[in-house]
């Protein structure tokens, strides 16, 4: 049974955080960063507070840099607006096919961080687009199916993209006003310490 109302971004992010406690999780700008930080900051989270659309290339660079580490995934969490602004990055991923890359798109059909203007995903299916680009698509329609999609996608060779519609709107949480250098450095040190050898 599909959920009657799509889950919130906040609840979806909290689930993603629990699902990947030991893998790098790259987060897109705006409400996604601040809601994840509010749900629980972790050193394995890379908070990209600006540069819309850069999550996929950063996650791809991490995946290439971490290739050959068994059992590890790089997770990139993008919104529909961010994915659409840099859709070419999906074709780059699909061509190179890094097995350890997992993208998650939380799709609220709107630019929720800037006032809720609608995006083209009211008519477009990002999972279909990802599949055409060469990624393995997964569809979730609630928190339970998100959990199982993430689990399935983690066990199969990537690159994969998990797509889920979420409710529009943002949680009332504080802005993420930390110095980006400090945010990035914390992640960098965590990752260096988690590398084999």
């Amino acid at each position: 049974m599909p959920a009657s109302r799509p889950p919130s971004r906040y609840d979806s992010l909290a689930l993603i955080s629990r699902a990947f406690p030991d893998d790098p999780v790259v987060l897109t700008c705006g409400a996604t960063c601040r809601e994840m930080a509010a749900a629980g900051r972790r050193d394995n989270h890379y908070y990209i507070v600006d540069t819309m659309g850069i999550v996929t290339p950063v996650a791809l660079g991490l995946a290439l840099g971490m290739a050959g580490q068994p059992g590890r995934r790089v997770v990139g969490v993008e919104g529909d607006g961010g994915m659409l602004t840099n859709l070419n990055a999906l074709t780059t991923v699909g061509y190179l096919k890094p097995e350890n890359l997992l993208l998650v798109v939380l799709d609220n059909e709107s630019y929720a961080s800037t006032g809720g203007q609608y995006t083209f995903t009211t008519d477009l299916d990002l999972a279909d687009i990802a599949q055409s680009c060469g990624l393995r698509p997964y569809r979730a329609d609630g928190l339970e199916s998100l959990q199982s999609a993430l689990s399935e996608a983690s066990q199969a060779p990537g690159p994969s993209l998990v797509h889920m519609k979420i409710a529009p709107g943002n949680a009332q949480v504080p802005l993420l006003l930390d110095d980006p250098v400090t945010l990035g450095d914390r992640f960098h040190r965590w990752l260096a310490g988690s590398m084999p050898g």
């Binding site: 790098p24 790259v26 890379y46 990209i48 507070v49 600006d50 540069t51 850069i54 999550v55 996929t56 290339p57 950063v58 996650a59 791809l60 660079g61 991490l62 995946a63 290439l64 840099g65 971490m66 790089v74 840099n86 070419n88 990055a89 074709t91 780059t92 061509y95 190179l96 980006p180 250098v181 945010l183 990035g184 992640f187 960098h188 990752l191 260096a192 590398m195």
Partner: protein, 170 residues
């Protein structure tokens, strides 16, 4: 095609000597040999881009994972990358080694390259990016080594402008 394969090889060897193992590129005439060398090299991952700004993110991810990377692009690709350079690489203090073919400078015959040539160095200045024009193949290895050293010590982007004298033979 009068792109210098000898000088391209010198540049490529210098990138390898500098420990670069991930190279991102979008096809451009002057870079044809360099991209081909990266493609044929099993020790190097070539990331074929669809827009140059992707290369900023890929180099950022590679840096965080402890790998050395380089970006190959035309100067118009540098212009395309500006947002990523400013609001990711510079905001987060991420080193970038950017090799930029310098089209539209002295000797340029293609009218469509000339506006990009006119603004390239001024854009780099405005962004606060240190750069050097590479024209002497005998100094290419030094130029690449020094640019990488500066990028890593300053944790900032550094650009090497590949000039017509270096890349073009006619």
């Amino acid at each position: 095609m009068p792109v210098s394969s000898v000088n391209s090889q010198i540049i490529y060897d210098a990138l390898k000597d500098a420990g670069v193992s991930i190279i991102s590129a979008l096809p451009e005439t002057w870079l044809v040999h360099l991209v081909g060398m990266a493609d044929a090299d099993p020790e190097v991952t070539l990331v074929r881009l669809n827009k140059e700004e992707e290369g900023v993110g890929i180099s950022a991810g590679a840096h965080l994972a402890g790998r050395k990377s380089a970006m190959l692009m035309q100067n118009h690709g540098l212009l395309t990358s500006v947002n990523g350079i400013v609001s990711l690489a510079q905001l987060y203090r991420i080193p970038l080694l950017m090799l930029v073919s310098y089209r539209g400078e002295m000797g340029e015959r293609d009218p469509w390259q000339t506006e990009g040539g006119l603004v390239t160095e001024r854009v780099l200045d405005a962004l606060g990016i240190m750069y050097r024009k590479m024209s002497d193949p005998a100094l290419a290895a030094r130029d690449i080594r020094q640019a990488q050293t500066l990028a890593e010590s300053s944790l900032r982007p550094v650009a090497l402008l590949l000039t017509r004298e270096l890349m073009w033979e006619e």
